[in-house]
Amino acid sequence: EDQVTQSPEALRLQEGESSSLNCSYTVSGLRGLFWYRQDPGKGPEFLFTLYSAGEEKEKERLKATLTKKESFLHITAPKPEDSATYLCAVRSNTNAGKSTFGDGTTLTVKP
C-alpha cells in the first residue's frame, strides 16, 4: 500500500526566513510525485510533478526536489502570501490514475 507522510504538521516562519517541508513516501514503483498548494476554503492547486530521483523543479520562491524515499519543498525568502497548506501526493505504476495524499503541512509566514 502506498503511503505518504508529511512533516512538520505546521510551520511558522518570519518573512524572509527560508525553510523546507518534507514528504516521505513508500510506493511500489513511482510514477510521479506531486506537490499542491491549498488556500483555506479552496481546492488544492497543482504546483509540481517530479518523476525520478535527482529531479528538481522551481517556481518563484519554491523549489521541489526528489530522492528515492522523500521529497523536499524548499521555500526561499518566503512572503506572507506563501501562507497555505502544502500537500504532497504519489502515484504508483500499478495505480496509473489514482494518487495517495499526505495530510499536508500548514505554513504560516508572519510579516
Partner: protein, 111 residues
C-alpha cells in the same frame, strides 16, 4: 484556462434527502475523482472513474454512489444524507500520469 467546475459552492440539505453534487471538466481528461476533506483527516477518496460509465470505489464509498454518463461529467450522489456527511467535497480530474486539477469545492452541511 482549463477548469474543473463544481455546481455549488455551498449547500445545506436535510437529513434523509438525496443529494447530487455535479462536476464538469473541460480538459478531455480520462480520470475523475471525488474526495471529501475534513479537519484532521486529510483528503479521503470516495469514488473515482477511469472512463465513461466506469467507476471504482475509493477508501470511503459507504453512503455514496456516482455516475459518469459523459466523459466531462462526474456526479456524486448521497443516497440519504446524514449529518456525518457534512464536509467539504472536492472533485478532481487528470490525464494519465498528470497532476490533478481540482474544483473549488462544495461545502455541504446536512442538518
Amino acid at each position: 484556462d482549463v477548469k474543473v467546475t463544481q455546481s455549488s459552492r455551498y449547500l445545506v440539505k436535510r437529513t434523509g434527502e438525496k443529494v447530487f453534487l455535479e462536476c464538469v471538466q473541460d480538459m478531455d481528461h480520462e480520470n475523475m475523482f471525488w474526495y471529501r476533506q475534513d479537519p484532521g483527516l486529510g483528503l479521503r477518496l470516495i469514488y473515482f472513474s477511469y472512463d465513461v460509465k466506469m467507476k471504482e470505489k475509493g477508501d470511503i464509498p459507504e453512503g455514496y454512489s456516482v455516475s459518469r454518463e459523459k466523459k466531462e461529467r462526474f456526479s456524486l450522489i448521497l443516497e440519504s444524507a446524514s449529518t456525518n456527511q457534512t464536509s467539504m467535497y472536492l472533485c478532481a480530474s487528470s490525464g494519465t500520469g498528470d497532476g490533478y486539477t481540482f474544483g473549488s469545492g462544495t461545502r455541504l452541511t446536512v442538518v
